[in-house]
Symmetry: C2
């Protein structure tokens, strides 16, 4: 097996986040469930946008956020995702490249436009996400750079992208390429509603040993096993996954690695502004630690530090120097 050219290659939605403040009354008036992610078509997206308050645009996408964090921690990263040939596509491409992530998926001409996620941030810092997948849902298998995938130590896949047909087929093909090249496959479950839509697929991937590293939060794990007992859910899934990482919000996170359970508390935070991207950045810190050959305890700690940075400001891309934050804490 040749030495990897990239530490990680990720396939995910290429999304620009559109963040606005909103109160609970507004969520109720437009029929939204706080904390969830829902998919919108372009018309519904335009309608909600017109009702939202003033917004700011910050590049997002779950796996893309993770790579932005990992690149800041020194990992060699490549991203695969579909943008349209429009201004939001230019914004997404600029930002991910400016984060030091290789990105070569060609723009898709014509409609639909580049994906956007309308994110309503309530005063309690919770985010409610409304995603118009746009061009992102048309990532074709042909857009996969097979060489990049075969030459990256880890292939990282975003559960959200399991919704549309073409990217789901592309991700299945990517798993084959990575496994045949002897690389690791990491997967994030993304969202409880997403799991409800694809539980059977996700369980098949997990139970058949296709996934080496799985990321979930507590609610997602319970949704996956359709259970209510956290420890039982951890045991059930960890039986099929060499490395299972479960984030628990203010209660920190755990990792089950080869049958051994490790835990980390959440980092102390003075001011929680916006929890968008907390899970994405936890994965970034953990995976960067893995690539650096760190202990599981250190990997968890790196995840907690990266997550704490992201929730202290608006947007899901790091603003502070993550490497310096982590060096100050872990050396």
């Amino acid at each position: 097996m040749p030495a990897p050219t990239f530490d990680i290659v990720a396939i995910g939605n290429a999304i620009v986040d559109v963040l606005a403040q909103a109160d609970e009354d507004f969520l109720a008036s437009v029929g939204l469930t706080k904390g969830a992610m829902q998919l919108l078509d372009e018309e519904a997206s335009t309608h909600l946008y017109a009702r939202m308050g003033p917004a700011r645009e910050i590049s997002g996408g779950s796996a893309a956020n993770t790579l932005a964090g990992m690149a800041a921690l020194g990992a060699r990263c490549a991203f695969i995702g579909q943008i349209a040939d429009d201004q939001l596509g230019e914004v997404f491409a600029h930002d991910i490249r400016a984060n030091g992530v290789a990105f070569a998926t060609p723009m898709r001409p014509g409609q639909p436009s580049t994906a956007r996620c309308l994110i309503l941030v309530t005063p309690d810092a919770q985010r409610t996400m409304n995603t118009f997948l746009g061009a992102s849902q048309f990532l074709p298998e042909q857009a996969l750079d097979r060489e990049t995938i075969a030459s990256a130590a880890i292939l990282y896949l975003e559960g959200y992208l399991w919704d549309p047909d073409e990217p789901r087929a592309a991700m299945r093909a990517a798993i084959d390429i990575a496994r045949r090249a002897g690389r690791k496959v990491a997967f994030t479950l993304s969202d409880s509603f997403c799991i409800s839509r694809h539980r059977a697929d996700f369980r098949r991937l997990i139970d058949s040993g296709q996934i080496d590293i799985l990321f979930a939060n507590e609610g997602e794990l319970l949704t996956l096993v359709e259970g209510e007992d956290f420890d039982a859910a951890v045991a059930e899934i960890a039986a099929h996954i060499p490395t299972l990482v479960v984030t628990r919000g203010p209660h920190g996170a755990i990792a089950m690695v080869d049958g051994v359970r490790h835990a980390v508390p959440a980092e102390p935070i003075t001011r929680i502004v916006d929890t968008t991207g907390a899970g994405d950045l936890f994965a970034a810190g953990f995976l960067a630690g893995q690539i650096q050959g760190r202990s599981v305890a250190d990997c968890l700690h790196m995840g907690a530090i990266a997550a704490a940075e992201i929730i202290s400001h608006y947007g899901a891309r790091p603003e502070a120097k993550l490497d310096e934050l982590i060096k100050a804490r872990l050396g």
Copy 2:
């Protein structure tokens, strides 16, 4: 004179700000002067964008920022500015309307695209602005809503927009409409380099009594009079202007109103993040106070509070509830 329908109508650049962090070395490497605003053509803008770090997009434009602040303070506002028929144009239109500002200037089809300002924020919170005027520079006189201008208590004009030919002609026409309707004309000098380009025009407007309220910062005022003595510069300009407001950064601001000088210290701020929009929001607070019939001291204080809010976060549109901030301080 009929009662005004709007408290204020502003003509300004319709710009989306693209904000990125940068250090002094980066500014030097791309040949930028910290704290200044320069104009770029599309090619230079694209070139600088490619070299900049990851960014966020927040609607901006000097006069538009002022109106966003004034609307938050209860003023009835209308904005006139040219956007293109593109995604950034949609973003600008959404945000200003979501701020409660009436905006009806039709989108301009075809090239150039909507204006953007590449803003590099250094660790000292200074902003260095690089503006591609795009569609904004093609605001035609025909786009003016004469009725709106004639029916607004104040016409507010942005010095920056004096650079391109069409909007300059439109602003001259707007001054005529406002003065004939017996309304007040307010003007912001915007930037020292802008003043250097248009000193003769600006002096003619001021000296001929076309301007009722003039906003400047200390450096702009000195550039305007080509002098070095602040008090002399204030006296020289105040002789022609009923209300002259001069901001002095950390030293607060003064107003000369009908020959009497008033001063306010800067608001104490725990953390200066980004000074983009400080002058725009000072003007917002001051003018909102004028519209509410407040004392000059109160108007200055409102300006200082609004400016302090804006420099505590990224972007030049208010995030906190300005009306509540001011009510807590002034009642």
